[in-house]
Amino acid sequence: MLRLENVTKVYEGGTVAARDVTLDIQKGEFVFLVGPSGSGKSTLIRLMLRQEPITRGTIWVAGKDITTIPNWKVPFLRRSIGTVFQDFKLLPNKTVFENVAFALEVLGRPRSVIRPQVEQVLNLVGLSDKGDRYPRQLSGGEQQRVSVARAFVNRPPILLADEPTGNLDPATSVGIMKLLDRINRTGTTIVMATHDHAIVDAMQRRVVAIEDGAVVRDDQSGRYETITMDVPVVAEAPPAPATDGESGSEGGEEE
């Protein structure tokens, strides 16, 4: 479903945000991209969305190389990928219903189709009674639910989430994760960047650890398990000693 092949991203000024990253994500998988702030998780998400030009490598989405498609085709790519962000990215001047419906308006769906589809997805995220509210009238958790509803309303095969629980308290985060889990069970591939240990540990899904732009660990069913910051990490590095009360890395490197 998603394949990153030797992906490298170097920003102007020389900052390397992705180093030769190779990843293969199958249909229906739930993958956590974990790592400290600035490790390059968000850059990978942005590259998969074609929000940034790639420096080297290839990214395949549903069998298509998205690094070479022309700009005018990018909207079509994005329509097949749902996105959820830490800051919700809701349109402040639109109601909850309109925000979710917008993703379908973009596709040119008729209103007769949009209404039931939006109502259904609002029901799924538990906001069926708040369709006429504006984002500012909702709590953070509710706003993120709207964001998830918008990402899922046209049933995309892939959903990318960049720190979706970053602005939420633990209890609310659990609710969002349950929602994402439910969406994943419908067959949607989910890639989620996070540095929330508790969530990753609780979900027990595939964990890809990113450090300084490179993949340093890829566990099929793993825990967050941070890698020590003060020890240089290489692909074959032995499990690092725990520094913050957590155990060291137990998974090997893919690359």
Binding site: V10, R46, T55, N71, P75, N93, A103, V106, G108, R150
Partner: protein, 305 residues
């Protein structure tokens, strides 16, 4: 169809939500186009008045009496027929001595004693010549002066020529001013739309994120620009039309100057100005958007950094 309706709705909702910015854009178009249209109308007034002054007699030829070596009545009429046959001449009116005295009486109606002191026979008969083109007056004047039966030739050519030149210069100035102000309108609309987009850049980036194409994002902005342009231009035309209607009232009290502009002129140029306003709105929006949409695009592979 539903998509178009959605985009129309979006444009109208945006216009309502950004009332202040929209008012600014409409005013910008209104001021520029009102000045441009005003310049055009003033220019038209000048053309109308110059044309009015150009009408009528251009050259007066005073003929010698028979005792001064002039022609007989038949000869004078013959001369009139000859002059009338010239290509440069549109019409010739023969005014005999009696006719000249009648004109004289009208001219000095307020001084009857002076009129009475004049012997009607001393006033010469004359030819009043209207030319096809006022600029040809020199040639005609020269030929008539060479005629021995002619006492004197008076021409209004120089004055009218000067007025024509002035009109031409003002005409160019008016068109130049209209062009400059028209361009200013486009730039102001572009700027206003860019400001509106800047204020809504998050919104645009979210639209792109959910897969909206550039055209899908553009259309509501273009419609906004179009509506702003049409509103501003319409107001400008209406204002100048009202002003010119008021001027007509003033014109009634000043006999020499004509202040009436034909409705046809207002219709023709008014429609053109509204169309220009619409085009300026759309064009301004396109300029305002292009850079931002380009920046918001991720772009394909870059070279190695």
């Amino acid at each position: 169809m539903s998509r178009l309706a959605f985009l129309m709705r979006e444009a109208i909702v945006n216009l309502r939500r950004n009332a202040l910015v929209v008012t600014g854009a409409v005013l910008a178009v209104f001021i520029s186009l009102a000045l441009a249209f005003g310049a055009l109308v003033l220019n038209q007034l000048l053309v109308i008045n110059t044309l009015a002054w150009q009408e009528g007699t251009h050259i007066v030829v005073f003929l010698k009496d028979t005792d001064e070596g002039g022609l007989s009545l038949d000869g004078q009429l013959q001369l009139r027929a000859e002059v009338e046959s010239w290509d440069e001449v549109k019409a010739v009116r023969y005014v005999d001595k009696a006719g000249a005295y009648e004109e004289f009486k009208i001219l000095f109606a307020d001084r009857p004693d002076f009129v009475e002191s004049i012997n009607p026979t001393i006033l010469p008969s004359s030819l009043r010549i209207e030319l096809t083109d006022i600029n040809l007056y020199r040639d005609v004047q020269f030929r008539l002066q060479a005629n021995p039966a002619v006492k004197d030739v008076r021409s209004f050519g120089e004055g009218i020529e000067m007025l024509s030149n002035l009109s031409r210069v003002l005409n160019l100035l008016g068109i130049g001013l209209a062009l400059v102000l028209g361009s200013a309108a486009v730039i102001m609309i572009a700027n206003t739309i860019r400001m509106a987009i800047y204020a809504r850049r998050d919104e645009v980036s979210i639209m792109k994120l959910v897969g909206a194409s550039n055209w899908f994002i553009r259309v509501p902005f273009l419609l906004e620009g179009l509506i702003e342009g049409v509103l501003g231009a319409g107001l400008a035309v209406l204002t100048i039309w009202i002003a010119s209607q008021n001027l007509q009232g003033v014109g009634d009290s000043i006999q020499l100057v004509q202040f009436t502009i034909p409705t046809e002129f207002f219709l023709r140029w008014g429609v053109l100005f509204v169309l220009f306003g619409a085009a300026a709105g759309v064009f301004g929006s396109l300029i305002g958007l292009s850079r931002y949409l380009r920046e918001a695009d991720g772009g394909a592979r870059t070279g190695a950094a």
